[in-house]
Symmetry: D2
Subunit: 340 residues, 4 copies
């Protein structure tokens, strides 16, 4: 046993001596570098010969980590959206609704504003159901230039008037930087649509305002890209960003898009921002909206967005996927049962 | 006013006369056809000239429907999976669990059976949590031929012994028709894996047994194709098919697959079969399993499937996505809270 | 035989009589409608009883077509992009290159303009290879706000100077409407990037200019949506649109995007616009660029776009996918062999 | 200057001394480990303190590489499909056609064998065009159990007879292991269909034969998975594998699948196996077949596969995508022009 103890002692002495020499060496090298521009790398290739494989692996890991930490410290920008930057949940208060507070919130309204009456009828029904966030499109991004493009500023005025009458806040999409001046006075929450998630000039411009932003995930954006789009807004100073999962494009045609339900808990974990789910655009059909809204809330979403129209068959856009008033009532009643 | 009445009367008289002539005509045409092989089509192109556009549309619709009903009556096979064939939900009873009865059921166990101990430890923990359906792979379909391919029949024997000891039922995958004779005695529910959803000879062969079948959706199968794969089994006489949504392949890499949560309510509407969700394979990561299971049950799934391993880091397959025993406990506790 | 002849005659008499009555009826119905608001539909449901199935089908088809033609005539806007609107190929002449003339054209240059030297070196090499269309990014749309965002107007000035020196035309991306005034004077062809294919305000604004537009297909746009994005430009009066297929987002990760090679012949068939292929962005790797360019030209593309950088490893963007000058030479030599 | 020289000398002396001590240390550690089970790791965490960041990075890289090489040497199975295993192209000779020899080869025939006449007419036309590889389905994997499932063995007999009469080889799909005994005598090349690419028992069973195998890429298989499916066959000893790219499932609906043209050069680079392209199944429409075949050959494919039927409108499967005899003639003539 004494041999082992001796052996251990001898090795430890050697270790100390080696470290001592390395320490001396470093001072000299430092001198050589600073005063003479001389680079003297230690011949590690030879040193490795004196390590066994296990030791090599251990050191490799050790050094690798060190290099990575450095690289991260250097490269890594702590993202504003991240939990590293802010541990606690961001809560965005709109018209008394505290989105992100752990309770479900609802954003409803017609796909497009078509008239005062159409919008008003929907809002009245929403008010009865206690929904206070009114969505509606005034500038409509449409695949074809010949489709209804929205009422523009007139639509905003209608939205604004109806919201005032019903004590609601207005959420509406703005398509480009040059619409901002005209549109912002009428709008409580600016929606950035799926097609515009990557329209960086708009993200930056809205980052300079203090309006709450509802940012929709791009049609085929990854979760990573979605977070970085939010970062464009946050980096400019606007911290009021609500993320909206609205389905991604896949090969499946039974639904208009495939709701990426897993994105919700991932976004909740990796960001401190509120996350809501647009069930209308992910499903593209009405018969499964209630089930999807339940899933969204169960998975941890902060709210649900859906479209309601007094007469969907006559709607100027998305006529197949908007709920009528009766369906909206059933939807809200069913949801209320599960959220108590 | 009398003019109107007269006019109406005159037109109605004409109508009657026309119909009378058409009736006569038909008899003659029938005679010409049957006795002389003579085809005499009525000159409808001319007749159309005497209809206004509204009338043309009405008649077009009328006739179109008639043609379609005929075509359907001829072509349409009422699918065994459909609600048309069977209105009420199919309930499949396995080891006392009535899958499809409206209550949530759980299928748990290791990805692959590696040893008696490994399987037994998991099953014991499951028993404590009241889970009575034990899954585990004996024949493993692996992307590379050099990966662990499962213990084969020995694995089945382990599963069977552990299940007997813990009062559980065995769910395991079978890969091909020639494994059936050997494997079936050990198995309570046969799983058809995602890669085999389109392996029709296996579907047909299992359709001739009376074993309950857990049919997983193919990696990139549409809902339509998924239902038709079930039909292959049902058409052979086996009515005990459980559908399992397990995520589809998309561009998103944050999760292994994208759970198509909407598929659950669609399958529940369009089929009478039980639908469960495999959260492990759709997520491919453990941190969001509980959230996803909650979503699955909220959306209407009849059960949840997940993988548990005593020491995931050492697992021979899927080491990153299996829960350990502690995580499994937390998972079950969290789910139990929401299902009461 | 006389019986048959008689029978035919009798039926034809009946037909004439029926048509005669229908003609009378129509006059009366017209009168009833116009003067008394009276609608009198012919009892076709009864009439159908007097037709056999074959006759029903024939008439159904006949009427259906008529209804559809009407519907089309009413609804159908002949799209400006379509071969219906313009049979012959559109040829867009830029700096002497007649894009769309059946010969292959090449658009090359660095991903981003980084400096005068960097751009100039590439352009000189391009000139040696006879390439006269110089691409380079000044406003760079980047996924992260912390990545290099381009030199902006300074970049445009560099591009413009280099192009002048080398006798080339400048192709560069513009991101938003408010950049147009500043940018257009330096630009010969405006590129609309993949992320902006659905940024309708930009499409409309560029539609009002007479600059040639290189419109890239959106990351997950369908061919149908791609054509309609072009229509936004064409409908405003600018007929100089070049379509650019650049790969779509799929689950495959071996390439950055999946080049949808079939889109080229489909676009050539369904539109009269030139179609080019961006091989760099579809592949996202350099080792298969030559093969892909060959495929693009073989399938009928009017040109190929690719990125070249004097020192890709040091590039401020897309460093892995740009060719260096030697690779560019090899690429051009290989392509020249197949196109002669 | 002498100071620098001295400094360098001193440092080098230190280095030698350190290495000397490390060498001594290693012997002692070896002794301690082997004879006393004593593990003595060098306190590298301290040593790192004596290195500057650049040195740390250098060593980290050095060690990392060493660890990786070891890991590779241990883990890495040189795959049979790889160019590492076999540098030169595999050439598979079938009926005198040397697939993989750099010249284009053609595999044509009806989707499904329906009758002797139908098959014979197509084969005769093929013979006139010099095509000597006859494809045709006898066992048809169909999405619905109620669709035509093929003539089975009778179909094989027809194929075999027609091939003999026309001097052709037979390529046909086999669906499961239990069909092999019956089917193999009639078959020259076994096709493994897209739905079966992951049916491992079949891959293994065919790996034990010496029949050439035409392996189709799975509907949503990655290139990596595709290669590994081939490995299943190769690992069993059958080296005669032809890879067939046939389009992947994406969101685009203008084509039945999206031909992943880039997969061809990637597979040619990473494997030594012949690669052909099935233009019929990737396009799912006839109007772009010629363009796609040209692209396939330009990109480096060893051959093209397509479907031909004497009367596509009456075909029992895939009626919309099969060429008729006239279209086939045009197709071959157009291809012949570009391949000379």
């Amino acid at each position: 046993m004494s041999t082992v103890t001796d052996l251990r002692g001898t090795i430890q002495d050697l270790d100390r001596e080696i470290l001592n020499l390395m320490s001396q060496r470093q001072e000299l090298v430092q001198d050589a570098k600073e005063n003479h521009g001389l680079m003297m790398n230690f011949p590690f290739q030879q040193a490795i010969r004196y390590m066994d494989q296990q030791e090599v692996e251990m050191v490799a890991t050790l050094l690798q980590e060190r290099v990575q930490i450095r690289a991260k410290a250097k490269a890594k920008k702590v993202m504003y959206y991240s939990r590293e930057y802010q541990q606690e949940d961001t809560i965005i208060t709109i018209n008394g609704e505290r989105i992100g507070d752990g309770n479900p919130h609802f954003i409803m309204g017609p796909c497009a504003v078509e008239s005062y009456d159409q919008t008003s009828i929907v809002a009245e029904k929403m008010a009865q159901q206690g929904v206070r966030l009114l969505r509606g499109g005034a500038f409509k991004p449409r695949t074809s230039p010949y489709d209804f493009q929205g009422l523009g500023v007139e639509g905003l005025q209608i939205l604004s008037r109806v919201a005032r009458e019903q004590g609601m806040a207005v959420i509406t999409e703005i398509l480009s930087v040059d619409q901002l001046d005209e549109a912002l006075p009428y709008v409580d929450v600016v929606q950035i649509g799926s097609r515009n998630m990557h329209h960086f000039p708009l993200l930056k411009a809205l980052g300079k305002t203090n309006k709450p932003i509802l940012l929709k995930r791009g049609l085929s954006a990854t979760i990573e890209e979605f977070k970085l789009a939010a970062e464009y807004i946050l980096a400019e100073g606007n911290k009021n960003v609500i993320l909206c999962e609205r389905g991604i494009r896949t090969y499946e045609t039974a639904t208009r898009n495939t709701l990426d339900i897993s994105a919700v808990p991932i976004l909740k974990q990796e960001t401190h921002l509120p996350v809501i789910v647009d069930v209308t655009h992910s499903a593209g059909r009405k018969d499964i909206l209630t089930a999807m809204a339940k899933a969204a809330l169960a998975v941890g979403a902060d709210g649900v967005m859906a479209e309601v129209h007094p007469n969907p068959a006559k709607a100027l856009s998305d006529s197949k996927q908007q709920m009528n008033l009766y369906e909206f009532d059933c939807f809200m009643d069913a949801i209320r049962k599960v959220i108590r």
